[in-house]
Symmetry: C2
Subunit: 303 residues, 2 copies
């Protein structure tokens, strides 16, 4: 079937060369480019890819060298991934209710229109849903970061440290997307839906962020509550044997590199890491929503 692992000739984020940092402290706390695993099995898989053509010595800084850089992001322990729970922050006041009802309405509409609510869920339904939602999920962080950056420039004020957290979220969501794309190439109809949705969502979110950052971060907080619900359901489907194709499928190289998964990581391991990311965004956005826009961002890089 078409849900095979596309051999990642264009994989985003791998290199058999280690980034030369001497950092050895906890991955989670130090903002630095990720370290890439170089075990033999991985090396063999990578050798097959076109990426080799891009490889050059790290000392030559100009040229077509493949650049494996990603921003600081949490690397989850087994314990952290297992302890993710579905949570709900009760809406408090008009803005919160607006955000909450908005998200619930969108989820109901999307589940119905996409046919996800009906019939048996299989790998194809799941991957389409994930790809579509992640093309949306990458928007808020980037739009919010740009808005705050331009605000800092035009108001001649500092940013209070929010921008990096927003950019990290945006890149993290884009990595969810890129990882999912390694599993399936979407159809042209699907691509049209993605284009249309972005055209609407980017503009609405941008205008909303100019008016009320608080509303927007609360909205994302509730979206992420739904994302945790969705990925929890996906993990349950895998455990229940409803998605046999994915049970032993290895996680894409790009995902193994990005989340520093074990060499023999499978799809389930990847989705566990993604779910932990979503739970993290949930906390970040609910927290940012409760801050004033010129409060200090309490989140350090990669946390």
């Amino acid at each position: 079937p078409s849900i095979g692992l596309i051999q990642s000739s264009r994989a985003l984020c791998q290199s058999s060369r280690q980034i030369s940092t001497t950092d050895t402290s906890s991955n989670k706390h130090v903002p630095t480019a990720p370290h890439f695993k170089t075990s033999e099995t991985r090396k063999k898989r990578q050798a097959e890819s076109e990426i080799d053509a891009h490889k050059q010595d790290a000392s030559s800084s100009y040229g077509t060298r493949f650049n494996p850089y990603t921003m600081a992001h949490p690397i989850w322990s087994e314990n952290e991934m297992d302890s993710v729970e579905i949570t709900h922050r009760p809406p408090d006041g008009f803005v919160d209710w607006l955000a909450f009802i908005g998200v619930k309405t969108l989820r109901f509409g999307f589940d119905t229109l996409s046919g996800f609510s009906f019939g048996k869920r299989n790998e194809k339904k799941w991957i389409n849903r994930i790809i579509f939602l992640e093309t949306v999920a990458g928007v808020p962080g980037m739009v919010a970061a740009m808005t705050r950056h331009l605000h800092s420039l035009r108001r001649l004020k500092r940013d209070y440290g929010w921008i990096h957290t927003l950019l990290e979220e945006a890149e993290n969501e884009r990595m969810h997307l890129i990882s999912a794309l390694m599993v399936k190439k979407p159809s042209w109809f699907f691509r049209g839906c993605v284009l249309l949705t972005q055209g609407i969502f980017v503009n609405m979110f941008f205008v909303a962020y100019l008016i009320s950052p608080r509303l927007c971060h609360r909205f994302v907080g509730y979206l992420e509550e739904e994302a945790v619900i969705t990925y929890t359901k996906l993990l349950k489907d895998i455990d229940d044997g409803a998605l046999p194709l994915w049970e032993n499928m290895p996680a894409p190289d790009v995902a193994v590199a990005y989340w520093k998964l074990e060499d023999d990581a499978n799809m389930r391991d990847m989705f566990r890491a993604i779910r932990a990311d979503e739970a993290h965004h949930r906390e970040v956005n609910h927290t940012l929503s409760s801050l004033k826009p010129d409060d200090e961002n309490p989140f350090p890089p990669g946390q």
Copy 2:
């Protein structure tokens, strides 16, 4: 006069606590949060600032802890800063000429309207010019980064590693601005001009970037050629004794921390670092302009 060093109660980028990385290799090549100097003189200056109120132990990750994170960026050696030269890349083809004539026209118009071309240049004229130009300079990198990010999401394609370089440029320009703001608080009329200019420039640049990234990066490349000319002229004015107020004025703390200047760095040292940044943007943007949008970005983080 009003061109004193405003004691930076809101300084962007200082902390008497060192970031806990064990990285000891060359600053320039490792993407990591900058290390902050903690000498006694600096500590004393910092102690006077409000920032102390924000300080908490690094181990408490949530709270109002002050966050000194900035992206990877080059730390210039004395030799690199001294060897910056005014250069010009001859336009080659219609798009290049359009960009070049655009920049030259804007510069002529701005020099005339702002009165910079007439009369004696002093500290006030200089700092107004710098603040204004840096509020513009921070726009292209962020708009280009957002455009490529959204493009990656909606076309379901990877980014080819451009985004981080564009974001680094945007933040770097914003740090130029924040550093200059430590020297002077602009007037309300000035602020109005900044608002108006951003309103026009962001929209024009965004539309232009959708149409021709090549034109936009060439445009920025030529802007940066002008920026190097401008800062070279400023350094010459300082050396000629035309700006006596700045001759022995210490560089703002935020600048010392960001560029890792010597503890006794003065305004001239700061402007030398800024000029080296501009020369770097010049090369980056001329290079990006000559690439196809899905060529691999040849610039590693912080370089």
